[in-house]
Symmetry: C2
Subunit: 289 residues, 2 copies
């Protein structure tokens, strides 16, 4: 945790955007920051409701938000992160820009470069855990100059800020490496179940797992259906992870395959409840010969 | 377990070859079979020692083995399985041929087809677990006609025979699906550690794992170094698994990447003791940009 004794606190920060995770980040910051603002322009009614429930104040447009805040926090899908940063940078933002998205270190450095001409401060962030409703569940890793002042926004709320001793890219690397296992191994597990079903051997496989790897059965029945509903937004993150492996000289195939798995499951987006394992398996197997 | 009341037992079987796993399979069969033979021609002195210790009788050549046995059991590296079966089939073997190797269902069917002209019985086998020294650790899944008579060779020894209700290919599918998770996720874990090291974030990553996924730290410190020593013989199995996924219409990238990981670690074959995690990571990262 940052020691903020010598850190001046922000009195007003802006949040882009109050999605399921972002809204809880904004609500967490309100414990230490007087005002957390957001911009409703172009956002859905669900987002408006979440923002209001989180106690965030709507200033309408992105331009208003940029004008009124000297710290902006970006929490959005990985595929939208660069474009959002570009819009902020092109509006001559000169404060602190925190990108807390699931992007590769290289994408993070691309975002930092967008602000080079503005003399803005860019801070790298990586969120690990579920939406930050309860204390002790969710961490915001931060790296780069200015990380400690960002951490001071989360001293007393339920989101735990962790300053990493590293440059821009380090916090993103932690996020990539952490999600590489959780989301990567869930995609692997879903594929293996689909394989066993296609080959007619789910019964002996599940018996072997039950006996030798008893935790796996729980993950299969829990994580796989739960992930299927969220799969539509995981594919982009898997490609960011694959890019991170590739840039480090490591095989990228694990997460290209995981991206393919989540793309095939994207149709469960509007499902009322998690699908059965067999329904997941049916979506995964295609073009079998 | 097979009920062998109405199954005539084999009195003499042949084992190809008494490697680390194969020797224990042969020793296990000796509880129910009078003689377990093998052929030392072209095999190493280490194999001879293992065979002698397991109580197997050497008949010299493959031709002698084929002539004297009406059941042959193949336990060899996946890349050698088809060629070995071809040699046996071309010697007009007409008994029961059990392929217990880590091969795809399709490779298994290729092997079965080699014996079609001989009117031999082919049984599909898949070994799960460590070398079968202690009871309750290792299973031999069997499928295809003749599976029950093969299972009768392992009624009282420490290798548990499990007859699967399925055709040639089913037992191999169980093996592929089981190893897809164990060896696949170990390769993933090794890659993630290498990534974190390349990015300078092992400390925050391991802290997150310790806190959220405490079992993972044990697997990282146990399975990764242990697998590095055996990696030289895992790459072929990973490609068989990838082929199995591909044939079922599933993404094959997880195990192509795992094959690449194990290929890069093949140099640890002659290591006296398991390498450190950092030594594994150094071998894995290459051509980083």
């Amino acid at each position: 945790m940052a020691n903020s004794n010598d850190i001046s606190k922000h009195e007003r920060i802006g949040l882009l955007h109050p999605g399921a995770m972002g809204a809880t980040v904004g609500a967490a910051a309100r414990h230490d920051v007087d005002q957390v603002l957001w911009a409703s322009e172009g956002r859905s009614s669900a987002t408006r409701e979440r923002a209001a429930a989180a106690g965030l104040e709507d200033v309408g447009s992105l331009e208003n938000l940029i004008e009124r805040c000297d710290l902006l926090l970006s929490v959005c899908p990985p595929s939208a992160a660069v474009e959002l940063a570009r819009r902020v940078a092109s509006n001559d933002f000169r404060g602190t820009y925190v990108d807390a998205n699931a992007i590769s270190p290289r994408t993070m450095r691309t975002i930092a470069a967008l602000f080079a001409a503005n003399t803005a401060t860019v801070v790298d962030g990586g969120l690990i855990g579920p939406p930050a409703v309860r204390a002790g569940t969710t961490a915001l890793h931060l790296s780069g100059e200015g990380a400690r002042r960002v951490a001071a926004c989360f001293e007393t709320g339920p989101l735990e800020a962790c300053c990493i001793d590293g440059p821009i890219g380090a916090a993103s690397a932690v996020k990539m490496a952490f999600a590489a296992y959780t989301k990567g191994s869930t995609a692997l597990l879903a594929s293996i179940y689909a394989l066993a079903r296609a080959e007619g051997v789910t019964e002996p496989l599940l018996a072997e797992w039950e006996r030798r790897l008893p935790d796996l059965t729980g993950r299969l029945n829990g994580s796989v259906p739960a992930s299927a509903i969220k799969a539509w937004r995981f594919a982009g993150e898997m490609h960011e992870i694959a890019d991170t492996f590739e840039a480090a000289g490591l095989p990228d195939g694990f997460h290209r395959a995981a991206a393919e798995v989540y793309e095939r499951l994207a149709g469960f987006k509007d499902a009322q409840e998690p699908p059965t394992l067999d329904a997941v398996a049916d979506r995964l197997c295609r073009d079998a010969d």
